[in-house]
Amino acid sequence: MSINPTDKVQVKVITGNAAAAIAVTLCRPDVIAAYPITPQSEIIERLSEFHSQGIVDAEMINVEGENSAMNAVTAASIAGGRVFTASSSWGLAFMYDAVLAAAGTRAPVVMVNVNREPPGIMAVSSGQQDMISTRDAGWIYLVAEDSQEILDMVIMAYRLAEDYEIQLPVMVHYDGFYLSFMAERVEIPTERSVDDYLSVLKEQPQRPTLIPGKPLGVVTHGLLEGYIELRHKHCTALERAKQKFDSITVDFNQQFDRSYAGQVETYRSDDADVVLVGCGSMCGTIKSVIDQKRKEGIKIGLVRLRMYRPFPAEKLTEVLKGKKVIGVVDRSLCFGFKGGPIYTEIRSLYPELGGARMLSFIDGLANMDITTAHIEQIIDTCLSASNGASCNDVTWVCYEG
């Protein structure tokens, strides 16, 4: 049995969660351990179904909670396996120590996190705060915009995580409820093409693996200079991951006939004075509003983060330098720091960007739709700022209007 037994690309109308499950299946994982949580459950249901049909030849571990799931896949990864887990929000919070451990042990775990508002206020709804709350865990964070990109990004995640020069866990994020449950057209590549794409990893040196009878010291020591050495290596590997992601994206585009940008996608921003920055599903809406505004002769553009950690500072500098106004739309908050999380990070590039006016827009919390009307309002604010009008640095779009 196979997910795509034909020699041709299959086109299906499927949800983002189904796209993730199919992508994992195509990558032939050895061990899958996960615990269901809304809006991620469908991924696990689909994988269980594929497993029962013999399509996924992996060890499926039914764990009693997310913490165990992450520890199980980290251990399996250190033992040399290709692994997968998925979670969201409360589940991600519950596995927090294990998330840190996966990064610290340099285990190339691939995980999907379906973005949902985290614990604090009971909200079974979309929002990127769970991603933000774990951004300093030392993982590579990728953010998908649509179902096709979810499928493609999971495949790229394995190539990136297991690369001998990287050896870091990768989390693929996408907006819960919007992308997780929305069905749209997705191209499912052939098994052979995915095997081809991942075959590069087999030619690389083997990473240290834990084999019975051959003890391996794993996180058994990290005192003083040893600790600093490991952290330095970790940060250096994260820096390497930026270029690596660009190059594996080029390979991916060739193999699967796509046109993805690497760390950062630009949309009609080259000649624009006013540029919006965002990530995830909101970017589809932003793009359609930009097309409309362009018809009216207004030069605006979008810069979309496909990679959030490591933060693509150099690429962002390249594409945002010299812009007059940069409006950053965050679907999350930065508690105790004025402005959204991505906004504050873009602001750290202020000297490199040559003094652009930067505005923060907080929108789309708890499943509040980021509508075309909201984007138009955000663009109007940015345009008036570019004409010298005074406006607030931070606007909560749904709340302050």
Binding site: Q167, P208, L216, G217
Partner: protein, 93 residues
């Protein structure tokens, strides 16, 4: 400043054939497990429960590896024959 390197590899892994890097947990110990080899029935409970897995299989009884034993006393607590007693570490100085 010169950099000290502990790890040949990228991550916190060390190879037992070359140099196994471990924390010196033995220095944390304030009490030491003493095994009565006569009372020991070789059931292996102590080895199973030991959180740092330092009980060494001596084929007829188990004996702690004191380089890594933290002295937590779980082995003594779990021993069904009370063959393990915890003695203050000061006695052995």
């Amino acid at each position: 400043m010169s950099r000290v390197s502990y790890y040949e590899s990228e991550g916190p892994w060390s190879n037992y054939e070359k140099r196994l890097l471990c924390m010196d947990t033995g220095s944390w110990r304030t009490q030491r497990p003493i095994v009565d080899e006569e009372k020991c029935i070789y059931c292996g409970n102590c080895a199973l429960y030991c959180p740092v897995q330092i009980m060494v299989d001596m084929k007829t009884y188990f004996s702690p590896n004191l380089d890594f034993c933290k002295g937590c006393g779980v082995c003594a607590r779990e021993c069904p024959k009370k063959a393990i007693t915890m003695e203050p570490e000061d006695k052995f100085k």
